[in-house]
């Protein structure tokens, strides 16, 4: 179990992002999700800078669990980090 904040940066069109969302939902994890491609203007730019701080490649999904950043749908690593 984790009591760390979980934040998912995703794209609405990305299949790896959908898989990550499904995994987190299936595991019953509470998390915040933002779909960067659905944002515009200043908000989009702010989110892009945020994602880049965690992941300079600006690739998706970028999952932040506490201090740990997991890039891509890496099921085992996500489960392990969440203690599941």
């Amino acid at each position: 179990m984790t009591d760390q904040p979980v934040l998912l940066y995703a794209l609405s069109t990305c299949s790896h992002c959908k898989n990550t969302k499904k995994l987190l939902d299936d595991l019953g994890i509470q998390y915040e999700r933002v779909e960067v491609d659905l944002t515009e203007g200043d908000e989009r730019q702010r989110l892009i800078e945020e994602v880049k701080r965690h992941n300079p490649h600006l690739s998706f999904p970028t999952l932040v669990i506490g201090q740990k950043v997991i890039v891509g749908f890496r099921e085992n690593e996500i489960k392990e980090t969440l203690g599941r």
Partner: protein, 110 residues
């Protein structure tokens, strides 16, 4: 154009080049829909698994099929999105590993 029409068109042109659609049909059709959505949004079929910047020239390397497909299919048997794969990947003769982002970080300019 419908997702099915796009699928049929791409299949006709890509398979002879050795690039096959992932046999997970639902996954592929979701990506066909996403490509059509990006075409509507940006005017070009930007990669659904990457953030497009709404500038065709700057996104030229990630217009599907992207500039990284050849190297990714050669190394992993699959493109970044698991859309185009090799015959061996579909046959399960190649381990289905996560394909890491090959696009250089400095190409994602925003």
């Amino acid at each position: 154009m419908t997702p099915q029409e796009l699928y049929d068109m791409l299949r006709r042109t890509q398979e002879p080049q050795g690039y096959f659609f992932n046999q997970d049909r639902a996954h592929v059709m979701e990506l066909m829909e996403a490509l059509l959505l990006n075409k509507e949004r940006y005017g070009y079929m930007g990669c659904p698994c990457r953030l497009c910047c709404d500038d065709r020239e700057r996104d030229a390397d990630i217009i599907c099929p992207c500039a990284y497909r050849e190297a990714d299919v050669a190394e992993y048997g699959s493109c970044y999105c698991n859309l185009y794969v090799s015959r061996q990947w579909n046959q399960g003769k190649i381990e289905h590993r996560y394909v890491p982002e090959r696009r250089p970080a400095d190409r994602a300019m925003f």
